[in-house]
Symmetry: C2
DNA sequence: GAAAAAAATTGAACTAGTTCAACTCTTTGT
DNA sequence: ACAAAGAGTTGAACTAGTTCAATTTTTTTC
């Protein structure tokens, strides 16, 4: 049932079969209807998730109502708010299902327990965080040196399956441009 | 001598005195003259560093020659290229001293050994990476929803001691604008 | 301490991306 | 199946930020 999770873990760090079992047994399957929130800004984050099916959008809303998409999490992606999870302060993030979705979720209590009990879990998240860090640094640089059109085309070719699931408004919010301008880019 | 390093570590994860000793003894003091590179793009990264004194600029240069500053590392900051360090591929980053600087450096070999020998080191870098991740996500959002002027003013008030060490060109490269435009912002 | 190199300033013309408003097309809920 | 809400398109006027080129100021080097 959570074969996908096990494969995902082993892409980052080599777990033994028993470590995999022990770690994965704390994950519970939850389903989310389209538009349902896994996390709402203001909530304190008490869970982390791994997407089995469907797709989520992770975004912030600021005072002026401006909507900023941090990333999309489709099948085989992790969902976490490191800030709120770590410090147990109110989250700045929203995680909303873009379609009916299935997520394997682990509670904060269990995860903290597993960090202690199973040292390789520290390594797993250390490695995943370091990889994510590299990706965020690259994205920031691309935002500086590429035009909106280039970023749009790169997104289409890098994440075609996500691109097909999201609206143009959500795409524009990810790219950091207005949806009107995205519409003009597409016309060309 | 490396009190600062020990304090920095304990800000993230509580080490015992003996763990601190054991971890810190693998760091060696190196000095860098102004303009000297700790890492050059194309090199494979075999060290990580912790700045004791001075300041570094971490930046990329792309094909078109455009210069992008990822961050500045002054006293009490870490210097690492996670990508090249992890995969041992040629780095995309440059780390250059902006003034004469002192850095405590640890070799890749020693660090990998310490991950094995001292499990709390995994935790340290897991926690540091997760905090850094949060900071990078915030920076990306700010780049989308704030004007260049706002970002400039925020930088000045958040990092006044760094601001005083860098040229306007380097500041502009960090903000993602041209130095001509920064000059116009300052005039107002 | 003079010469050379690099950094900063300024202006004019330009362009990528925004804003606002009107309209159409598609999806959703009942 | 209909009404209502949301998503996408288009155009016109605008603005934040760029580009290029000339000039001045500051820093570096020998």
């Amino acid at each position: 049932m959570n074969e996908l999770l096990k494969q995902n873990i082993n892409k980052h760090v080599q777990f033994s079969a028993s470590e995999l079992e022990e770690f994965c047994k704390y994950f519970q399957l939850k389903t989310f209807k389209k538009k349902e929130h896994l996390l709402k800004q203001g909530d304190v984050c008490k869970f982390e998730g791994f997407v089995l099916n469907g797709c989520f959008r992770i975004f912030t809303l600021d005072q002026k109502g401006s909507d900023n998409t941090l990333y999309f999490a489709a099948r085989d992606w992790w969902l976490m708010d490191n800030d709120s999870f770590m410090h147990q302060n109110p989250s700045h993030l929203n995680m909303q299902a873009l379609e009916d979705s299935e997520v394997l979720m682990i509670s904060r209590t269990d995860k903290l327990m597993l960090y202690e009990k199973l040292p390789i879990v520290e390594k797993l998240f250390r490695v995943m965080s370091q990889k994510a860090l590299v990706a965020w640094q690259r994205r920031l640089i691309r935002n500086h040196c590429e035009t909106a059109k280039e970023r749009y085309q790169n997104f289409l070719s890098t994440y075609p399956s996500i691109a097909s699931k999201i609206t143009d408004k959500q795409m524009a919010s990810y790219l950091g441009i207005t949806h009107e301008f995205l519409s003009k880019i597409k016309k060309q």
